[in-house]
């Protein structure tokens, strides 16, 4: 924090007419979704938390994959290995969801925390449009950066595998896991935006999301029998996450695309509740 600075006084101010008078209100066109998207894009790119989040996404998603791939390549090529190399090629993308959740949440809750949400709704009175614009941007950014990160992890890891004779070609399930990572993170970002609008509080929203994905998710394995198996299949990190891995560590999961369809339905349900509540509650 720097000390408050004395502002330059400008005695001529009050008498200076605005040099470019704008069109009177009566004829101004109602700005549409495009204007809301441009505004949200400026918001997203003018705070540091966005860049930190995306930087962390690349470090965790690609960096950890390369690190673990390099360390485990020899073991994976050996007869004792009980995991396939493909299950390691997107290893870091198992933790990337935490970063996607933080990014998606902050896009909303930082506005509630600072009171800026009032400026946002005053500028764009259609709250659904604000939510849609935020969701679309977060989804696109996370899809692009998520896919690029998965690919970076592959490019960094595969040479170590090739050196051990277990290199993976970029095709089939491996290729699908690349853009699958982007799709899963995009879905999580939209989910986080919706939870952000519901909870309106950074710590609360992130706790709920990370708790559901990483704590309750693994804990349902403790529920016995077929019911427990189904709970495990239906937890969002399992429904959506399967698409981001060429081979899953967990054999109980739904088929990747089936699981992703279930994941999208789960996200849509939360989005619907959030949108409904957003219209009804005071800002």
């Amino acid at each position: 924090m720097t000390a408050p600075q004395t502002l330059p006084t400008n005695p001529s101010l009050p008498t200076t007419p605005s040099p470019t008078p704008l069109a009177p209100a009566a004829v101004s066109a109602r700005p549409g979704l495009g204007a809301a998207l441009r505004a949200e894009w400026i918001k997203l790119t003018t705070v540091r938390s966005t860049w930190w989040s995306l930087f962390a996404l690349v470090v965790v998603g690609a960096g950890l994959t390369v690190l673990l791939g390099a360390v485990n390549a020899e073991w994976l090529a050996s007869p004792e290995a009980d995991e396939s190399p493909a299950s390691f090629i997107t290893w870091g993308m198992m933790l990337a969801p935490a970063v996607a959740v933080v990014l998606g949440t902050l896009v909303v809750t930082s506005e509630y925390g600072s009171g800026m949400i009032r400026s946002s709704f005053a500028a764009v009175p259609s709250r659904g449009r604000v939510m849609l614009a935020k969701s679309l941007l977060v989804a696109v950014v996370l899809f692009v950066v998520g896919t690029a990160t998965a690919f970076l992890g592959y490019v960094g890891t595969n040479p170590f595998f090739e050196a051990e004779g277990i290199g993976l070609p970029l095709e089939g399930d491996v290729l699908r896991a690349m853009y699958g990572s982007g799709l899963y993170l995009a879905g999580l970002g939209v989910l986080a935006v919706a939870v952000g609008f519901l909870v309106r509080h950074t710590a609360g929203a992130i706790s709920i999301l990370l708790g559901t994905l990483f704590v309750i998710g693994p804990m349902v394995l403790l529920v016995p029998g077929a019911f427990g198996e189904w709970l495990d299949k239906l937890m969002p990190h399992n429904t959506g996450g399967a698409l981001s891995m060429p081979v899953s560590f967990n054999p109980n999961l739904l088929e990747p695309w089936t699981g992703f369809a279930v994941f999208l339905a789960e996200v849509a349900a939360v989005v619907a509740v959030a949108a409904w509540s957003l219209r009804r509650r005071d800002a």
């Binding site: 009050p14 009177p24 101004s28 109602r30 705070v47 800026m116 949400i117 400026s119 500028a123 009175p125």
Partner: protein, 311 residues
């Protein structure tokens, strides 16, 4: 023009704004005055479509907020507490606002210049002083060159130079024919800024009057009299039905004559052949008038005895 009709906001059991009616006309500065918690900010949030009224309505240019074209070109608002992300620069904040309402980006630099923030435009808002934050809020309000300008507690945190600047700005905006609606809990500030006054207390309108009328009707006055013949003067005035109280130090008390006309008091006393050492008309401050008015509102609620509460 802003128009509220039976505007009501209830939170659970308590009523923050209680069926108020008022109109804010164009071309003048209308002060919205009330103690903290009187319902000013709630009213302004309903005006901007941020809070939904429990009953009644409030319109801007005869439409509900946001139902027309680009809202920021119609009404600009300085919101309480700035409503700005601390991690964003002043320019970044104004840029997204401009984009959201299809306002040319060049206008951002104009309003930055207008409020004197050009030199710090790229600094993060979190490092701003309260006064700089207020200036940014005012820049945001003026961004769309709107016909209606709403300023919620604009002088909070401003230095005397800044307060003067806001006062002149409000005046200029009104002179340009705009509707200017300024809230404050400081009567003295309103007295210097506003042409028209809407006083709110406990969610009800206590006064809706021109500033001149408010001063005449609510700024009580008395005549201060210093005389060596206190008893005779007191008796004389009491005989004429004028209330007199003693005040000041016990060794040399003065008389407070509860009348508005010092000349009449002087004539009366000299006609009786009594001596005066001092005769001064003392007008109580607007602050006092405001306190009296809002105290009445509290009394009104507590005893349900409507006593001198102007509608």
């Amino acid at each position: 023009m802003i128009h509220a009709q039976q505007l009501t906001k209830r939170y659970g059991g308590s009523t923050a704004v209680d069926a108020i009616d008022f109109t804010v006309e164009a071309g003048r500065v209308t002060g919205f005055l009330g103690p903290n918690g009187a319902g000013k900010s709630t009213t302004m949030r309903m005006l901007l479509g941020l809070d939904a009224p429990s009953a009644g309505s409030v319109t801007v240019n005869r439409r509900a907020y946001g139902s027309g074209g680009a809202p920021l070109r119609e009404i600009g608002a300085l919101l309480e507490a700035g409503a700005v992300h601390p991690g964003r620069s002043a320019r970044g904040h104004l840029r997204w606002m401009a984009a959201s309402n299809a306002i040319p980006a060049a206008r951002v630099d104009e309003v930055l210049d207008l409020v004197g923030l050009t030199d710090v435009a790229d600094r993060r808002v979190g490092t701003f002083s309260l006064g700089m934050g207020q200036r940014l809020g005012i820049a945001a309000a003026l961004l769309g060159d709107p016909g209606v300008v709403v300023l919620d507690e604009p002088v909070n945190g401003l230095d005397p130079e800044g307060i003067r600047w806001v006062r002149h700005l409000a005046r200029r905006l009104a002179d340009e024919g705009r509707t200017v609606f300024v809230s404050s809990h400081l009567m003295s500030e309103m007295a210097l800024m506003a042409d028209h006054l809407i006083v709110i207390g406990r969610g009800r309108i206590l006064a809706d009057t021109s500033m001149a009328d408010f001063m005449t009707h609510h700024a009580a006055s008395h005549v201060l009299v210093r005389t060596p013949q206190r008893e005779q003067v007191t008796r004389l005035l009491a005989d004429h039905g004028v209330e007199v109280t003693e005040a000041g130090p016990a060794v040399d008390p003065v008389l407070h004559v509860h009348a508005g006309d010092s000349a009449a008091v002087g004539d009366l006393v000299s006609a009786a052949g009594l001596t005066l050492h001092e005769l001064t008309l003392v007008r109580s401050s607007l602050e006092d008038a405001f306190m009296t008015l809002t105290a009445d509102a509290v009394e009104y609620h507590a005893t349900t005895q409507p006593e001198g509460v102007p509608a």
